[in-house]
Every structure is written in structure tokens, then in C-alpha cells.
């Protein structure tokens, strides 16, 4: 997993629960990394371990933590990390979602050691589209949900996300119908 992701988990925990909580979480997860380099690849097990330890330490379900983390990622981490690139990734929510595949294609090209997820969009209408999420990582759907909700807030539209297909029901990827309407975040 991208070091930026682990850094973001750290920032989220420190900003909301304090640095001692993060140190306890790291100790519980057996993670002895003082500094996560943004563009470095770290084992997925480390990220999963941190999320599980945070869940145990903070007494919150892992899915809740991941969804919070998704929102935090969009609203706090990505603007700081990607800066102007994020601002140039799309003027509207659907434009941004349609740029996601290109963005991840570039990431895969620039950082060959990373294994970014692959996105596709389809069935775009005036107020919805279908987002296809391909990943060899399991259990990160709440993270994606949080990201989409965070994007709704970023573009100031109300967002509804329906999980319409998943690997658990026979599909080879996760499918979400995303519906938006003007008038602020949902």
C-alpha cells in the first residue's frame, strides 16, 4: 500500500485521538515505522494491521474507521498531497469520477511497484453513473464509500451510493451506482 495511505491513517488518528493513541495502535499492530514515505510501497498487511489495531484500540468497527478515513482522505489528505493536481482532476463530481481511471493508469505507470486499484465508469446519465472498482485487496469498500461521500462534500452535491454488485455475490469486482443532485452534501 502507498505510504501516503498509512501516513493518512496516522494523521487521522493523531488529529482525532492524539499521538499516544497512535503509538498504542502501532504497538498493537506490531508496526515499527517511524515515518511512512509517501511514494513508498508498504505491505498491505501493515495497513490492515493498523486498521484492525485502531478498531480494537478505539472501540470502533473497522468499517466505520475505513469510511471515516475515506472522507478524511478526500477532504484533508489528498488536497495536501496532490494539491493542484487534485484541483485539475475534474470540475464536477462526474468529471472527477471519469478521470479516476486515467489518474490510476498514470500512477501505475509512474510507480510500477504499486498496485493501484483499477476504475471504470459506465452508464453515465444526467445525474448518475456506475463506478466499477477492481482491486485484489479485500475489505476496502468502506474506504471507497468514504471517498465518494468526501467527493460529494468537495463538489458540494448530495451523493447517494448504492452497492449494486460485489465479489461476494459472484461478480469479479465491486460495482457502485452513484447518484448526485445539486444542493450540497448529503
Amino acid at each position: 500500500m502507498y505510504g501516503l495511505v498509512n501516513r493518512a491513517v496516522e494523521k487521522l488518528v493523531c488529529s482525532r485521538f492524539g499521538e499516544p493513541a497512535w503509538e498504542r495502535i502501532k504497538a498493537r499492530a506490531g508496526v515499527d515505522v517511524e515515518f511512512f514515505a509517501s511514494n513508498e510501497s508498504y505491505p498491505d498487511s501493515m495497513t490492515y494491521g493498523l486498521v484492525a489495531a485502531a478498531s480494537a484500540e478505539l472501540g470502533l468497527p473497522a468499517a466505520t474507521i475505513l469510511e471515516s478515513f475515506g472522507e478524511y482522505w478526500v477532504l484533508e489528505v489528498a488536497p495536501a498531497g496532490y494539491g493542484a493536481m487534485l484541483d485539475s482532476a475534474g470540475r464536477t463530481l462526474p468529471d472527477f469520477l471519469e478521470n479516476l481511471p486515467h489518474f490510476h493508469t498514470r500512477v501505475a505507470m509512474i510507480f510500477p511497484n504499486l498496485q493501484p486499484p483499477r476504475f471504470e465508469t459506465s452508464d453515465r446519465t444526467q445525474d448518475s453513473l456506475v463506478l466499477h472498482y477492481h482491486s485484489n485487496r479485500l475489505g476496502l469498500e468502506p474506504f471507497l464509500l468514504g471517498i465518494i461521500r468526501g467527493l460529494g462534500k468537495r463538489f458540494q452535491v448530495a451523493v447517494q451510493v448504492d452497492h449494486i454488485g460485489s465479489r461476494g455475490t459472484g461478480s469479479d469486482h465491486e460495482t457502485f451506482r452513484i447518484t448526485w443532485s445539486a444542493g450540497g452534501a448529503a
Binding site: 501516503l4 517511524e34 515515518f35 514515505a37 509517501s38 511514494n39 498531497g81 496532490y82 494539491g83 493542484a84 493536481m85 484541483d87 485539475s88 482532476a89 475534474g90 470540475r91 468529471d95 471519469e98 478521470n99 486515467h102 489518474f103 498514470r106 500512477v107 505507470m109 509512474i110 510507480f111
Partner: protein, 647 residues
């Protein structure tokens, strides 16, 4: 080289593939503007002069129609007049020869250039690498930010490390103990002045940093009473690398040092070690003095008659002396740690409770006492079921903390109270008994002296009464003196004599008295010699007292008996009478000093000392006295004396 296939791009496709293209005619008037370029340069429109918006930046030539053909085949860079942005690409002649077309895209060096120009990533053609370059630049920026963050963190850590190091050095420098910190190769990292002073090193501690201490034990061993043990101790500590605390070392000067050895490990790796030496001579001396003082205090406490108890701040017992245990009737193990308030409950003589003085003192910090005189006693119910009169005082112990517990000092005044009471009774009784013959004598003497004409026979009779009263008075005084002598520990004059003969003498002496009352004195048992080793005068006193009492309390016409016999190694004397007898409830007090049974006063005068004198003498001879009595039937006093009392 194979020519490229004709892909037949139409104008719309050219627009998609080169969204930043523009075309101009031979007069340098704009003929077409690509979609994305139009977004970037909203004022760049068809029909406008090219030079109004763009300059030719490379090659660095004036933008003139005649020069355009020479640019064909070269990389060309235009610069926007207003924003100074670059467009890099190449020029191709239009197929109809009407002008030229520029195929290229903006050259941005910062991701923020996109937003500044109103563009987004989707405005670039998919094959255009500008967005990828910007992505790489962004990644580089991230890495750079990481580096800055790491450098900042390292700087903070180094600053914190320097602060800690400075604090540690200041702390160690100011420690009273000598401290030496060495690295794994035994080079000095930190040493303080106290260490230098202890080991007589005439150098500034700062100058010693970095010096090798490998041979320091050999160099310093002469300072120690056991030099080789000092060297061996250091060697073993360094080999074992285990924390050692409180090792005692004696210097040849007589000073005593305490040493700690602390190995320093960081993440499992040995980083060196710390030696800490403290001169504890004063402490050891103080501890010895304290032990001596404690011992003195223990001995003092054990030997005083007052009970002493101390508690902790919660009122739990921490110390008791022997007297306290004796008075309370319990053992030390039963009481240590027990709440004092539970075992020391006082009642006033009128049965009202005294509150809880223990809690009172613990709460208020103000001392409490029953009163300074013996009259201000309280009842104390002991743990073994006795009731004692005590006087007590409780005071808070003020140590380094406000409430360090309390100390209780108390005294059993039961005996003293009883003696006081008896003395009071005695004074009253003796005053009365002395006054009676004195009053009688005074009356008769006044009569005799006031009547010179009194017939001689009457005068003789009255003077006889006076003599009789004087004799009685002398007898009382003698008893008081005898009692006083016994109380003072009069020495016994032991001698062998025939007790039967002594008893006979006394019977003979008392027969006139008993005869005057028609009381017969009988000899009970065989009248054979019984030799005994005893103080003859004291034994005489015993027999006189018993026989006199028997006669005194026997009504006229009754009888008194005395018998002497041997029983094993004992000599037994029994004195019986057919007198008024003694009530059962009076028997336990019969031998107490100054005690007079309530029924005795109406029958005969007395001091209440006779029987206590008898008991004291018998006990001093190692014997016992026993009384059997029934009211109205008489009494028998039996004295058992060892024939040969032990020394």
C-alpha cells in the same frame, strides 16, 4: 523506412488529438483555435492577428510572414503575451498552401499552472505526456515534502536529544553521588565532580570525557579496604551486564561507599554502563545511632509500668509495650495492626461513654487525657474480661507529615484506687477505734480529777478502766506498727521451736480473757511436740490474732479450739470457734488490709489489719491459710506451714 499509413484524420479528429492546435494564414491572421487552447486563451480568436497573443520564443526571431517557412521541421516555442506561458510543438504548412498549422501543447512545469490557465487534466490529449510529467512533478514534490518533514522531525529529535543531554549532564553534575557513564569500550561519556572527588581525581570532569577507563580499577584499588575485591567486583559486573544496586564498599579511610552498576541497553543492544557511588558513611552512622536509640527506647518502654501504644495515621496499632499487653490482657500478635479504638474503649465511673477519644485525637490533632489525678479514672474493659480503672492520655504524633498517628499512655490505677479506698476506710476506722478508748479514758480521768472526795474503791475501779483502755490502745498501735514493719519488708528471724508449746503458752495467756466471757478454749488433737523452723515472734502473732478473733467473735458460753499437727512435710494449725461466722460474700475480702466485715463492727472493735497481718506472715513463711465458715455456726481457720521453709 516505411511511410506512416494514411490514417485520414478529419478536422474534428485533429482537434481531439491536438486540442491545443492553432492555424494562421500567410498574413499571420488566426484561422482556427483548438478546443483546449481556446479554454486556455479565451481572447485568442479566429481573425485576430497572431502577434496580439503570441510571440515567437524559439527560434528567437521576429514573428514575420517571411520567416515562417524557415521554421518548418524545427521545434518551435511560442510564448503567450499576457501570461508568459509556453506552447511547444511544430509548424506544418496547410495542405491548400493557405497558411500554417501549429501542432503542440502547453509546457507546464508546475501542477498549479493547470489551474492558473483554467485547464484540467482532461483538456490534454491522451497521448500528451504533459499531465504525466506534472504527475511526476507532484510525486517529486511529495517526496520533497516527505524529506522536509523527515528533516524537521530529525531536527526536532536532535534538539530534544541535545536538551535531554544537557539536562542529564546538569542532573548528573549536580548529583551528590559520584556518577561515571562509560561506552562499551569503557571510554568516559559522562563523569561528574562528585566522582572525581570520591576517587581523588584532580581534573575537571569535562576534560575526562573520552578517556579510556579500562585500567581505572587497578589505579583506584589502593583506596579500598579490600582492593582485590573491588577489582573483582568491577570485572564481574562488566562481564555479567546485570544491574547491581546497593553494593557496600569500605574505603581505607573508613568511609563507606554504596555502589550501583547499571548496564545501558537500547533496543537490545549494549550501549555502555553507569557506575554510581554514594558516600553513605553519615547514613550508616545515623542508622547505627538510630538502632541504638530504638533499642534504648524499646528497653525503656518494656520496663515502664505505664502502657504505651502507638498507631499509624489511620489509628491502627503499630507498637505496644509489655505493660500495655499486660493491662489489656492480650498478645502482641493479636493487637498489631488492629484499630486502637476497638480495643481501648473507656467508660466513665457513672457508666456514661467517653466518646471515642482515639478518633477525636486523630481527627482534631488535639491531645486528650482523662485528667491528671488518679481520681479522674475511667473504666476499661480488658480483652480477657477484666474491668480496670485507668488514667490515660492520647497525643498526636507530629512527624514530617501532619498526621503521623498517635501515642496512648495509660496506667492501671485499680490497685492504687483500692489502696486509697482502704486507707480512707482505715483512717476512718482507726480514728474511730482510737477515739473510743481515748474518749472513755478522758471521761473517767475527768471524773476522777474532778471529784477529790471520790471513794478510793471507785477511783481505783475508774483508773482500772483507764488502764484497760490504754492497753487496748497500745494493742491497736502495736498492730499498726507490726503491719507497717511487714509492709516495709521486715526480716524474718528463723529458729527451730516447738509450735505445740508456743500454742500452749498463748492459750494460757488468753484463758483469763476467754474465761471472763465464759468461752472455753479447748485443745484439739494430740498434744505432742511439733518442731518447726520459723520466726517465732511472727508465728506467735499469727496464733494470737486467730485465737483473739475466735474469742472476740464467739458469744458467751461458746467454745474455741486449737490443734497442732504434722501432715506430710507441713505443720497444720487449726483454730475453730462457735462464733457468729462469716458470710460467704465477705470471705474473698477477709484477708485484705483494713477490711472489716460489715457484721463484725457491732461485735468488737478492730483495725481490719489482724487477718491481713496473719496472711502476710503465713505467706512469707511459704504457707497458706484457709477459712471455712457458716454464719451462726462458727469458723475454722487452717494454717499450713512448711516445717522447713525454703530460703
Amino acid at each position: 523506412m516505411t511511410p506512416p499509413p494514411d490514417i485520414g484524420l478529419d478536422a474534428a479528429q485533429v482537434g481531439d488529438v491536438f486540442p491545443f492546435h492553432f492555424a494562421f494564414d500567410r498574413d499571420l491572421q488566426v484561422l482556427a483555435v483548438g478546443r483546449s487552447l481556446g479554454r486556455m486563451l479565451p481572447g485568442f480568436r479566429v481573425g485576430q492577428a497572431l502577434a496580439d497573443t503570441l510571440l515567437l520564443y524559439r527560434p528567437s526571431l521576429p514573428l514575420e510572414p517571411a520567416r515562417i517557412p524557415s521554421l518548418h521541421g524545427q521545434p518551435v516555442i511560442f510564448r503567450t503575451v499576457a501570461s508568459k506561458d509556453w506552447l511547444r510543438g511544430q509548424l506544418l504548412p496547410l495542405a491548400d498552401g493557405s497558411g500554417w498549422i501549429f501542432l503542440g501543447s502547453p509546457w507546464f512545469t508546475q501542477p498549479s499552472d493547470l489551474q492558473r490557465n483554467g485547464l484540467e487534466v482532461g483538456d490534454f490529449a491522451a497521448h500528451d505526456t504533459v499531465a504525466d510529467v506534472l504527475q511526476i512533478l507532484q510525486a517529486q514534490q511529495m517526496a520533497f515534502d516527505d524529506m522536509k518533514a523527515i528533516m524537521q522531525k530529525l531536527s526536532q529529535q536532535r534538539a530534544e536529544s541535545r536538551r535531554l543531554s544537557a539536562r542529564l549532564s546538569a542532573l548528573i553534575g549536580n548529583l551528590r553521588g559520584g556518577v561515571l557513564v562509560e561506552d562499551p569500550e569503557r571510554r568516559i561519556l559522562i563523569v561528574n565532580q562528585a566522582f572525581c572527588t570520591l576517587f581523588g581525581i584532580p581534573a575537571d570532569p569535562v576534560e575526562l570525557v573520552g578517556l579510556d577507563c579500562s585500567n581505572s580499577a587497578e589505579q583506584s584499588k589502593h583506596l579500598f579496604a579490600e582492593p582485590e575485591a573491588f577489582v573483582t567486583g568491577i570485572r564481574l559486573a562488566l562481564e555479567n551486564r546485570r544491574t547491581l544496586t546497593g553494593e557496600i564498599l569500605t574505603l581505607r579511610s573508613g568511609h563507606i561507599l554504596e555502589r550501583d552498576y547499571v548496564p545501558i541497553f537500547s533496543e537490545g543492544s549494549y550501549q555502555g554502563h553507569l557506575w554510581h557511588y554514594r558516600d553513605i558513611t553519615d547514613r550508616i552512622t545515623a542508622e547505627r545511632a538510630l538502632r541504638l536509640e530504638t533499642s534504648r527506647l524499646s528497653v525503656t518502654l518494656a520496663n515502664i509500668v505505664d502502657g504505651v501504644i502507638t498507631t499509624d495515621s489511620a489509628g491502627a496499632i503499630t507498637l505496644l509495650n509489655t505493660a500495655a499487653l499486660r493491662i489489656l490482657g492480650a498478645s502482641e500478635s493479636e493487637l498489631l495492626g488492629f484499630p486502637l479504638a476497638e480495643v481501648f474503649r473507656l467508660r466513665r465511673s457513672n457508666a456514661s461513654a467517653d466518646g471515642d477519644p482515639v478518633a477525636q485525637v486523630l481527627g482534631s490533632g488535639v491531645a486528650w487525657e482523662t485528667g491528671s489525678s488518679r481520681n479522674e479514672w475511667r473504666w476499661l474493659d480488658t480483652l480477657d474480661g477484666r474491668q480496670l480503672r485507668v488514667v490515660a492520655s492520647i497525643a498526636p504524633i507530629r512527624g514530617s507529615v501532619d498526621n503521623a498517628g498517635l501515642i496512648l499512655v495509660f496506667r492501671d490505677v485499680s490497685k492504687e484506687f483500692e489502696v486509697e479506698e482502704l486507707k480512707r476506710d482505715f483512717v476512718s476506722a482507726v480514728s474511730h477505734e482510737l477515739r473510743t478508748p481515748i474518749t472513755s479514758m478522758k471521761g473517767f480521768l475527768d471524773t476522777v480529777l474532778g471529784d477529790p472526795e471520790m471513794p478510793v474503791e471507785v477511783r481505783t475501779e475508774f483508773l482500772g478502766v483507764v488502764r484497760s483502755q490504754l492497753k487496748r490502745l497500745a494493742g491497736m498501735v502495736e498492730k499498726i506498727l507490726q503491719f507497717s514493719r511487714l509492709e516495709a519488708g521486715q526480716k524474718m528471724e528463723l529458729a527451730a521451736f516447738d509450735l505445740t508449746a508456743l500454742a500452749g503458752e498463748i492459750v494460757a495467756e488468753l484463758t483469763p480473757i476467754s474465761g471472763s466471757r465464759s468461752v472455753a478454749i479447748d485443745w484439739d488433737g494430740p498434744n505432742i511436740p511439733v518442731e518447726i523452723l520459723a520466726d517465732r515472734e511472727q508465728i506467735r502473732s499469727v496464733l494470737v490474732n486467730l485465737l483473739t478473733n475466735a474469742i472476740k467473735f464467739t458469744p458467751d458460753g461458746g467454745s474455741v479450739g486449737i490443734g497442732v499437727r504434722e501432715d506430710g512435710g507441713e505443720t497444720v494449725v487449726a483454730v475453730r470457734d462457735t462464733g457468729i461466722g462469716i458470710r460467704a460474700e465477705d470471705l474473698p475480702n477477709l484477708f485484705q488490709r483494713f477490711y472489716r466485715a460489715p457484721s463484725s463492727g457491732q461485735h468488737a472493735p478492730g483495725t481490719g489489719l489482724g487477718l491481713s497481718i496473719v496472711k502476710e506472715i503465713v505467706q512469707r513463711h511459704g504457707g497458706q491459710i484457709h477459712v471455712d465458715s457458716r454464719p451462726g455456726e462458727g469458723s475454722t481457720f487452717t494454717v499450713r506451714l512448711p516445717t522447713r521453709p525454703s530460703a
